[in-house]
């Protein structure tokens, strides 16, 4: 793998599984020193052994825990160049009629407040990078930001809000003259272990798989590695003029109507 990210330090939240773990692997393969957070210590240990990345047990919504986490990271690596705000949940969601206030608050805490805290910590660290304020923040939104789901009211709402959050961060950094970019990515259905589990537990796994694959005009799900490749591009200096943008990676799911 070309070493586009040599010398860069990356933080991936929710890095123990799925898209986050894929990003840890890809960023490390391109030469970055990677730190990742999450709460599954067993999965984290395997990923550390595989990639050489470091794991820091931390939940993104834990606001008081952020300063200590960043002190540890910057102490260890000396800087921060890339932050992939990836951590997100959907458990506890429901429709506008069925969702509980606890479920709603929990999803907003993780999917929205957690991303804001990630961006906040990242900008604060990147601002004082040795050699000048530089960095790239990538926010993992979803195609649900454009096509909200009726039975996932909180998830869809938070993913939509991340568009404005990302642009606000980008504008703030630009207004301040900081060379810190911020962009959002909008994956379609990705074949993560979580989705595989949903498929395998369905009464008719083949039908469930066909349903997920049929959601994109490309007639398949994205692979974790494909989303990680987009993250690596936006993290690299290749994307030096890209900021405040929304990048879809959805096999044409949101490009338009399927037609007849």
């Amino acid at each position: 793998m070309a070493s586009r990210l040599d010398g860069k330090v990356a933080l991936v939240t929710g890095g123990t599984s799925g898209i986050g773990a894929g990003a840890v692997r890809r960023l490390a393969a391109e030469g970055a020193q990677v730190a990742f957070t999450g709460s599954n210590a067993e999965a984290a240990a395997r990923l550390m052994a595989e990639t050489g990345a470091s794991f820091h047990a931390h939940r993104v919504e834990d606001a008081p825990g952020w300063p200590a986490l960043m002190t540890t990271l910057v102490g260890r690596y000396g800087r921060l160049d890339i932050a992939f705000a990836n951590a997100g949940i959907e458990a506890g969601d429901g429709s506008v009629e069925s969702i509980t206030i606890d479920g709603w608050n929990r999803l907003l805490a993780v999917n929205l407040t957690g991303v804001m805290l990630t961006a906040q910590a990242a900008v604060r660290a990147m601002r004082v990078n040795p050699g000048g304020a530089t960095g790239a923040i990538i926010i993992n939104s979803s195609m649900s930001a454009y096509r909200p789901m009726g039975n996932f009211v909180a998830y869809s709402t938070t993913k939509g809000a991340l568009i404005a959050l990302s642009k606000s961060v980008a504008m703030h950094c630009a207004n301040q003259g900081l060379k810190i970019r911020c962009n959002s990515i909008h994956p379609g259905v990705v074949e993560t272990d979580m989705i595989r589990g949903v498929i395998n537990r369905a009464p008719d796994p083949a039908a469930a798989r066909a349903q997920f694959e049929g959601m994109a005009p490309l007639k398949r799900m994205a692979k974790v590695e494909e989303v990680a490749a987009l993250v690596a591009f936006l993290a690299s200096d290749e994307a030096s003029f890209i900021s405040g943008s929304e990048y879809s990676i959805d096999g044409a799911s949101t490009a338009g109507m399927m037609g007849v």
Binding site: K167, L218, E226, G244, G256
Partner: protein
């Protein structure tokens, strides 16, 4: 690592600006690149560019507004390489002026180049792109260069806005069409903001001639100041996005719009 090794690319409007930067980048990544532009084969700037890019670059004369010219260019690619993996519909012209005084001929001209050109290139090259797409794990790639002017309106730029907006939605329609038919071609658009190119400099001179500013530098400084990132893009920064879309790294991207504008449309 040269991730485009073995791939063949055709880039329209490749003699200067964004097209040239894309051709240079693709060559550097190992692709065989056919540069297409209006100059005659053998013209001094054509020869100089080919000499600089080396043996993996070649040139074909192409007026993108002419269907027959596209057919000839496609036959050249077919004869020389037998395949086409990447088509970059980059050729374009600008057009400014208040809508009530804009000559209809000027409107027709920009549509014929900026819109017809993208349609004709896509139409003419699709059979070869589809055939070649079966040779690679994730298929062929069409990259249409739209603009931030295809996303948001701008005063005295209605024809350019309309044309670039058409490219944006043409891209999405064809992406869905190909996906549904299992045609192995991904189709995406790039939306650059203001880029330091000869086309921009020509446009600036026109605005100065129209009395809209004292000199071109005043306009360029004004654009830089109005761009959140505080500067114009370099053509190489657009080439980076084109390279991503050309490579297998973008294997799940189709119907997407990649905005490269230093935050211009984020406001």
């Amino acid at each position: 690592m040269r991730r485009l090794a073995g791939r063949v690319a055709l880039v329209s409007g490749a003699l200067r600006g964004i097209g040239l930067a894309i051709a240079e980048r693709f060559v550097a990544e190992g692709a065989a690149v056919v540069l297409a532009d209006l100059a005659d084969s053998g013209a001094s700037d054509v020869e100089a560019t080919l000499a600089r890019l080396g043996q993996s670059a070649s040139y074909v004369k192409l007026d993108v507004a002419q269907e027959a010219a596209w057919q000839q260019a496609e036959q050249r690619v077919r004869a020389d390489h037998g395949r086409l993996d990447i088509l970059v519909n980059n050729a374009g012209v600008d057009c400014t002026g208040a809508v009530e005084t804009l000559e209809f001929a000027a409107w027709r001209r920009i549509m014929s180049i900026n819109v017809d050109g993208v349609f004709l290139g896509t139409k003419t090259c699709t059979p070869l792109l589809a055939q070649s797409g079966k040779l690679t794990p994730f298929g062929s790639s069409i990259i249409n260069i739209s603009s931030i002017m295809g996303l948001v309106g701008y005063a005295d730029t209605s024809a350019y806005n309309a044309g670039k907006g058409a490219v944006r939605l043409f891209t999405k329609a064809v992406a869905i069409e190909f996906a549904q038919k299992r045609t192995p071609i991904r189709v995406n658009s790039i939306h650059p903001g203001f880029v330091r190119t000869p086309l921009l400099e020509i446009g600036m001179r026109k605005w100065v001639a129209l009395g809209m500013a004292e000199n071109a530098q005043v306009l360029i400084d004004g654009i830089a100041a109005a761009t959140p990132n505080g500067r114009l893009a370099e053509a190489s920064e657009i080439a980076g996005a084109a390279y991503f879309l050309a490579s297998d790294d973008s294997s799940y991207c189709t119907g997407s719009e990649l905005v490269v504008d230093g935050g211009w449309t984020a406001r």
